[in-house]
Point group: C2
Chain length 431, copies 2
């Protein structure tokens, strides 16, 4: 071996309030390992690797790295939706070339299943070519859809707890207005992220584990017609005089002009209409058997970057998952993802472990069907028991300066480029 | 005089994160005045007076009254949109009858211009009939459109500072995602409340007083075509690679199927589409000269009940404005609104005073034209100097229990009804 090797970290996909905590955990833990040289952040995920755009995270002020805890989203080094498809062999070769040029011995990719697949393929390719490169995955997604449905590969993903807590607060606070406003506004419809996977809208139930609110939760996994939904709402109105509807952005309400992102995933926030608007319009036009009207909230990206509502449990776990990436890297555990496993027993506690990237990449977590109540528009106490510990017990305390949040501001310490300019394959195809 | 007289407080219109602080200030201050007996909260505003539905606030536990600080919206006693029109003479007579039956000598109406008008009319009617009734107004609206455009009747309304702070955070956090996400999502459109009045969207500028973000702010007062808006966004994209658009819900983008509430005001949140969606669709269909797509956030009512982002300055001022209502009542200052006036000088400080209800009711505050920049899509440093102190310097610290916000829960201590049942005039007309 030839002394310390550098570590490249990249992020992919949608951000979260805690993604930077994972980054911070990695950078701070890496300082303890003599095997690891500098930690380089690839700008905008794998694109930053391909384009040889690295920011030196080890050279940053420790104060700014610490402030990553209070900095949402991925503004620090950026994320991407660039996908390395198997046939993009030039891209894979380029990654290895760039890593060689910068003495990179460790690559950590923080993201979802696609990213785990990329991290795994790069690690395998390196091994085939006799290149020493440790490939590690870091989990991250507010959707909580990484891993298996038995929660054995990972109990929950960093990011989910914070978005779940966001919904707990959003519904708790909205209920105050819904209860207090006059009969003119009896129905509030709120649209939750999570694509077709119900973990995020389900978290609305955390606002009311005792089931006292007139709250209905519609997951994409439990479809019904607009007529049926309106009937449910009208039933609620006749009982409670008001109703709060939390509905998944992926709930099927007929065509709403969905748009696709570069992964081929539906990008609901760019669609021609929203599920929320479709439901509000249906209720206001024909569905509502009461005075007053339905109104809608579509918080959109706010639910994944609203820092004051982040879960302290989630922030801490994301940090430790990042630390664990550094540990796995230093130990040479190539081909593994840093994971969070829940220990058995009545007290919530977790273990930070490792699971094979290949298993994660080929798994698909769905919202357990048995956690949907027979009514179809609520979730069970088993879900509450699963999700409740993830939102923690305290509010995060945000540092403020001059009336604004004090966010981490990384210095533009870029790593000098050593290779000729390269255009990523998918970008060539596009232009 | 016949000993202490009771005080009835009612709330009208849309809620805010601090409306309950005004209520708390009133209830806590009233304890000090022997002239004031019990404070009764009318359920759902003036409708609660007409229907003789009062909750005894003086009989509540002091702890719950104190927790009103951390309880958003108007869930405690409720608000309404019932308007007392001059021709509803039976309704006015009924108010006085109910007050007489419950030994009510003071009536405090917390709301906007319509409510100030109602409070004033009831006070005048009582005077004409030789009834001792002190009518007082309490200011409240996130829109900041109560009073005059010279800020002499009131500097700002309780509620505005908190919604302004909400937007400061929303834009600051959204900017982290917008900066960090890949070129696939270069444009984020965020829709702000405030109807046709620009104080709320203008507050987005507080996220970036140094004007470093690619932020464009569209007020209804500064209209332009969708083509012009798209040109502005494209210019920003060519300079910055990304753009954040904050747009007023009342910005004219052509018909969006507006609905009216019972005051005859447009209720944008119930419209057939949203300004945000119209802009997103225009950009995605024809307007965007860049790769990737525009997406939209419509936080809706969240901006007026998101408790963690409430301004501590606003919370404190709302409390003192409520205390001042009790002071004005005890002094017999009928026909006045409790107001907040900014003292001259470089340090932000305010005085709690009184202004005639008739003047407030007949005034209409607009967003000062001179605070809109020549570009048409930004606000000036004078606006920043006006609004900056209102958001304060700290985060509010929310009490939590079992993972949820500890909200005030008033006991159902209703005042016994003494009169025959009454159907409010406007309700009769409807049915």
């Amino acid at each position: 071996m030839s002394g310390p090797r550098n570590l490249v970290v990249a992020q992919s996909g949608g951000p979260s309030p805690v993604i930077n905590s994972t980054l911070r955990g990695l950078v701070e833990a890496a300082r303890s390992f003599p095997e690891i040289g500098h930690v380089y952040g690839a700008r905008h995920g794998i694109e930053g690797v391909l384009k040889e755009e690295f920011i030196d995270l080890t050279a940053q002020s420790p104060e700014e790295i610490a402030l990553l805890r209070y900095t949402p989203a991925a503004g620090s080094i950026g994320t991407c939706r660039y996908k390395l498809k198997p046939q993009q062999t030039e891209d894979f070769a380029r990654c290895l070339e760039v890593f060689r040029a910068h003495n990179v011995g460790y690559f950590v990719y923080i993201g979802v299943n696609d990213s785990m697949d990329t991290a795994n393929k790069i690690a395998q390719l390196a091994q085939q070519q006799g290149i020493e490169l440790i490939g590690i995955g870091g989990p991250k997604t507010i959707d909580n859809d990484v891993g298996d449905s038995q929660f054995k590969l990972i109990d929950h993903t960093p990011g989910y707890g914070s978005t779940a807590k966001y919904w707990m607060h959003a519904v708790q606070n909205a209920n105050e207005e819904n209860a207090g406003s006059c009969p003119a506004d009896p129905v509030l419809v709120m649209q939750a992220m999570g694509r077709k996977i119900g973990f995020i809208p389900a978290a609305a139930r955390l606002a009311d584990p005792g089931r006292e609110m007139p709250l209905q939760i519609y997951l994409a996994e439990s479809p019904c017609s607009l007529e049926q939904l309106a009937d449910n709402v009208n039933d609620q109105l006749s009982r409670s005089g008001r109703c709060i509807v939390v509905i998944s952005e992926g709930f099927n309400v007929g065509s709403i002009g969905e748009r696709k992102d570069s992964f081929g995933h539906t990008q609901f926030s760019s669609s021609e209409s929203t599920v929320c608007q479709t439901v509000v319009n249906y209720l206001n036009r024909v569905g509502l058997k009461a005075k007053g009207s339905a109104r809608g909230n579509v918080p959109g990206t706010d639910q994944r970057h609203s820092m004051a509502y982040a879960s302290t449990v989630d922030l801490d776990e994301a940090y430790h998952a990042g630390e664990n990436c550094a540990v796995l890297a230093a130990r040479g555990e190539s081909g593994f993802m840093s994971t969070i496993l829940r220990n058995p027993g009545p007290i919530y506690e977790v273990t930070y472990g490792k699971v094979p990237l290949a298993e994660v990449a080929n798994s698909e977590r769905k919202f357990p069907k048995e956690w949907i109540t027979p009514s179809g528009f609520d979730v069970t106490d088993d879900f509450i028991r699963y999700a409740r510990p993830l939102i923690g017990n305290e509010m995060v305390s945000l540092p403020m300066i001059d009336g604004r949040q004090r966010l981490a501001r990384l210095a533009p310490i870029y790593v000098a480029q050593k290779l000729p300019k390269y255009v990523p394959q998918a970008d060539r195809a596009k232009s």
